[in-house]
Symmetry: C2
Subunit: 418 residues, 2 copies
């Protein structure tokens, strides 16, 4: 295979995670190993910066800051939820690539972002512009197909499981048979994050909190919920619940939704916890209900991130560069689990078109018969992912994160109206 000489462009897209910057660090680290790669650029705010030719020189950043990316939450390059729609937008992307001799494009993101990467890749092929496009998976939702799990997911559930266990200590102390404590977690279409809260239970202690987990996969049954809450309150004196924002009723309607939709047409959810609190408050006499909603905190809680997750995010970045150097394109890096008893993880590749806009559901057979707890198959899957802690550097009592210099690459094209 002929060596492709040119520049690298890295972009981040969609909601940030605690470890998405570790993938950027992995890409930079690996790119520096290859002489055919001349410049390493980043695009600010994903395709938005690309359209506006807002590129930065990542090789100009200090090594210190690049290393700090490994533990920095958010998206250091900026991100976007912008969807390329017009043909003019796609043409502009190619124009920018050509103007800056971008031959390697690495896009770190979830379903929508992989779809964008796929379309850019196909357009380049159609125009005969040699470009290698590799997607790097990223989503706390863990719903990308073709990969065992997604970087970002493990850190989100480690934070949630940690929080639920801490909350258990608090709630247990307060519980006089009348305390219901609800934590609302993210998860639009799949219950991966809510399921992860099951890791708060000690081994062989099925009655440990969370006592009830409400997943989007299981239509909400109000009568059963009331009975379950009463039973747990009687047994444990308190009842700890984790509910996914995307919970649906028996008719498949979102349990609590407001009218807004985001720019991809997804319903903006929120309030499942409050809605559940209202139902329980109205139907369980004398009960006090408390709701916690970590919201965006759960996707940026670097202080409770999984070391395994951060390492795999870095690895996925490295693997993306290796694959592109080896001539691969139009693929997404996947994480493959070894089949041994002891957890191991390697990378693989899946066609972007197989990944884009498809969703991996939580397997029904990993949920217990009761519909509100996870079985050993899920625990066996999730437990290894949250192993290891990261010691964050602190200054003045709060963690210190990377801040990139963002040295701009000179623009060479006329301005473009987004």
């Amino acid at each position: 295979m002929a060596e492709l000489v040119g520049n690298v462009l890295v972009g981040q897209s969609g909601g940030p995670t605690s470890v998405i910057n570790a993938s950027v660090a992995g890409i930079i680290a690996e790119a520096l190993n290859h002489e055919c790669i001349e410049e390493i650029y980043g695009t600010l705010n994903g395709v938005l910066g690309l359209l506006q030719e807002e590129l930065i020189d990542l090789a100009a950043e200090s090594q210190q800051q690049i290393r700090a990316l490994k533990h920095t939450p958010g998206a250091a390059l900026g991100t976007c939820r912008f969807k390329l729609k017009k043909q003019a937008d796609f043409d502009r992307v190619l124009e920018v690539f050509k103007a800056h001799n971008i031959r390697y494009f690495f896009y770190i993101g979830g379903n929508d972002s992989q779809d964008t990467a796929d379309k850019i890749s196909k357009l380049a092929q159609a125009q005969g512009y040699e470009l290698r496009v590799i997607g790097v998976p990223k989503t706390i939702d863990n719903d990308l197909p073709g990969t065992d799990h997604c970087p970002g997911y493990a850190s989100a559930i480690k934070y949630i499981a940690t929080s639920v266990r801490e909350l258990a200590a608090d709630n247990e102390a307060m519980g006089q048979g009348d305390l219901v404590s609800i934590v609302e977690v993210m998860g639009r279409s799949a219950g991966w994050i809510a399921a992860g809260s099951a890791l708060a239970k000690r081994k062989d202690h099925p009655h440990d909190p969370p006592h009830l987990i409400y997943l989007p996969e299981i239509p909400f049954d109000q009568a059963k919920c009331i009975e379950d809450v009463k039973r747990v309150l009687k047994r444990e004196k308190f009842c700890q619940i984790v509910v996914a924002e995307g919970l649906v009723d028996a008719d498949g309607n979102y349990f609590a939704a407001d009218a807004a939709t985001d720019s991809f047409g997804h319903a903006q959810l929120g309030g499942a916890g409050d809605a559940l609190a209202e139902i329980i408050g109205a139907h369980v006499p004398g009960v006090k209900v408390r709701v916690a909603k970590p919201g965006l905190l759960q996707r940026c809680a670097a202080h409770a991130a999984s070391k395994t997750d951060a390492e795999e995010a870095f690895l996925a970045g490295e693997a993306a560069v290796e694959a592109a150097i080896n001539g691969e394109t139009d693929k997404m890096v996947t994480l493959l689990r070894g089949d041994k008893d002891i957890y191991s993880c390697e990378t693989g590749l899946a066609p972007l078109s197989d990944v884009a806009n498809s969703i991996k559901k939580l397997p029904r057979e990993w949920i217990n018969e009761d519909g509100t707890s996870m079985n050993f198959q899920f625990l066996r899957y999730a437990q290894p992912l949250i192993q290891g802690e990261i010691t964050l550097p602190h200054d003045g009592g709060v963690p210190v994160f990377a801040r990139l210099e963002k040295v701009r690459v000179d623009k060479v094209l006329p301005a473009y109206e987004v």
Copy 2:
């Protein structure tokens, strides 16, 4: 002063904190040093367990578990919000004390709990029963008078400041001039916790998040809020807000309150964040508003606790025992700050009657003219309190906390109806 020979009783009351158990550990550690102390008991769920003669033998717990209390959130002895009202209740408490030869009573709690301790102490004196009662301060609200600060507060604000800084990394990456991100924190009558979020700012970076802090001390001004949000969005492309649950309007009414009151007659608050989101959403065109509400998580987040706080909570427990051994009674341990530039902390004592049911407000002169940010006086006060991190032991990826055996002390009295 004559040596008082007898048993110790420790109780916890009110909302738990990340470090309230460190005070129990301090009491036990110090009590073991004194031969005049024969048994070390704990009462389950504060005065509730006392009325029901539900006592446990703390000296029977393993040293390992007592040591683990130093980093365990929640209240390991159980807690309550029960208020002693009837004379019969007070008489019963004394009866239990006499039956178990309790001569030292240590009650760890906030305003209401110190009031309870004060009343028990006065009753014992009136009945001529020799009893030494020392309160140990505890509240994330930091609103107890007579003490520089309260154990539990620093860990709550370290968690909030950490979360706000992490959220800043996320929000900054997402911000396109239209993102408003709100964190609702606790603080019923004083803005101590909301103020603590100011520690998320880097030194000499006044424009760092949180951009706007809404405190109960400053009546909410909607027109100013809208202008402030617009200005910040223009300057920063995103606007991060921290709001205290106890925010009031110009007439002094809670900004968002529901009808319920707790057993002490306090209004149960919640929803200030959502109410603020609604106002901003309605008055700032095209804005997206996200609300996070850590709720009870902020008082039990041991994984982001302040080492300084945990050490001072332990110290306060030790000091309580020392004071009682020295003949003090009817006092609460206070934390006194040294007057040197380098932070130091000693303990003192204040009369329980001075502490009970009184509230320390956040000084107005620590809030900037704008009413939505904190000045150097607050930062100088709060910064030293959040120094140092605690490395929690983990098992299976989640922190491991103490679990007491709770060996019951034999009951010797007839049952009592609570």
